[in-house]
Amino acid sequence: MVPFAGYEMPVHYAPGILAEHRQVRASAGLFDVSHMGQARVLGSNAGQVLETVLPANLLELDVGLQRYSFFTDANGGILDDLMVARLPDSYHLVVNASNKTDDFLLLESLCKDNIEFRALTDHALLALQGPQASAVLETLAPGINALPFMGVQQVSLKGLTCTITRSGYTGEDGYEISVAAENALALASTLLESPKVTPAGLGARDSLRLEAGLCLHGNDIGPDTSPVEAGLQWAIPQCRRKGGSRSGGFPGADRILSEIEHGPVRKRVGICPQGRAPVRAHTSLLAPNGSSVGEVTSGGFGPSINAPVAMAYVAREFSTPGTALQAVVRNRPLPVQVCPLPFVPHRYYSPKTLRRPLS
């Protein structure tokens, strides 16, 4: 157990990080991610107000769908990244534990007049992740296997009211289940009754998201990085970009929209160390001529590819996959290569692949 954002969190359970990681890729793992901040914003123009602090298209987001977005600051940095789901009566937000106090203050400051902010501090969050997740959840909530990737649905699981999204932080198919805290233990126990599911801790969560090329706020993104530097412009829809129907209107829009047009000066990339030595966060990256071109932001061992993996920011001219760089590890240069992200292909659920007739 380790202290994490004010919570006592398990780094791993008895099987260990490698086994938990492989279990999620092969079958299913259950993560207790109740430390994440959950909140609802209600009111007829809640979407309009939320759009003033993040560059998503919430006004046209259909009920039942979720989007990935980020709160930006006036410099175009990322205050936090989050998930926003549209429920019939509200927007449901999930933010990072370490930022939730600031995020909630920001949201509260926006909520005037007819808009209500509700922090779901009495709710737990369980993440069921892996290729068997839908088969397991389907036995408890028939029909849930048809929920599309990034869909959200409010369902009753064994009589417990849950808000379920088809999303996660592992690159695998899976669900995140919001449930009243007093029912979390019962729900977790029920899910763990399946022989396909074992508990997984923070350690496996980190190695899984790193292999999937997903950013950790505080490491890979933060107030010092813009969404475009981070390669997250896919989360900024056309309507919020230059020439769009609601172009800009969020903090730092000038810089962010200009970077989309002209390209950022540095980019987040994947880094493949050539040997077996892991290259950790804050490691300097050098060009062949010895000049510094960037820094590693997350790094470790990728259990699914049995090799070290890392993410880094490098100057744009060194960001092409295949570029050879050196990482300074224990005062010695180690050869590394810029490589595409993710390291392990995403396997999110797509109805199309299931509807294809068997041949």
Binding site: G16, I17, L18, G203, S207, R276, P278, G300
Partner: protein
């Protein structure tokens, strides 16, 4: 092996003639978690007691392994290059790190024996 000697940094040493085999203890591997990388000293290199001569990285952390003795490295456990998990599975057996021809076998006299080491780690939890 009951005739192992231990350091406060959780290395073990086993003397046979003038050759000392070095590794990390079961306590150390348990604290580190699953190892994913072991970097060993060059065979033939001179090492001195207290010098950081090997690097270990686990899924959780990176650490250094200090040489408990003075001498010359005569053999390294090549298996650990590809199978660092051997250290977790059998830290005082197949998971040994390297062998040193020592200049003075009495270097080991000051190290802890099994019971002293067990008493020492009992104070750490």
């Amino acid at each position: 092996m009951s005739n192992l000697k231990y350091t406060t940094d959780h290395e073990w040493a086993h003397l046979e003639g003038d050759v000392v085999t070095v590794g990390i203890t079961d306590y150390a591997q348990d604290q580190l978690g699953e190892l994913v990388y072991v970097e060993l000293p060059q065979s033939g290199s001179e090492v001195s007691a207290g010098q950081e001569v090997a690097v270990i990285e686990s899924v959780k952390a990176a650490g250094d392994v200090k040489s408990p003795v003075n001498g010359t490295v005569i053999e390294i456990n090549q298996v650990l290059n590809d199978e660092p998990e051997k250290v977790n599975e059998d830290p005082t057996g197949a998971g040994w790190f390297y062998r040193v021809r020592v200049t003075s076998p009495s270097d080991l006299d000051e190290m802890m024996d099994e019971s002293a080491y067990q008493a020492y780690i009992a104070t750490l939890d």
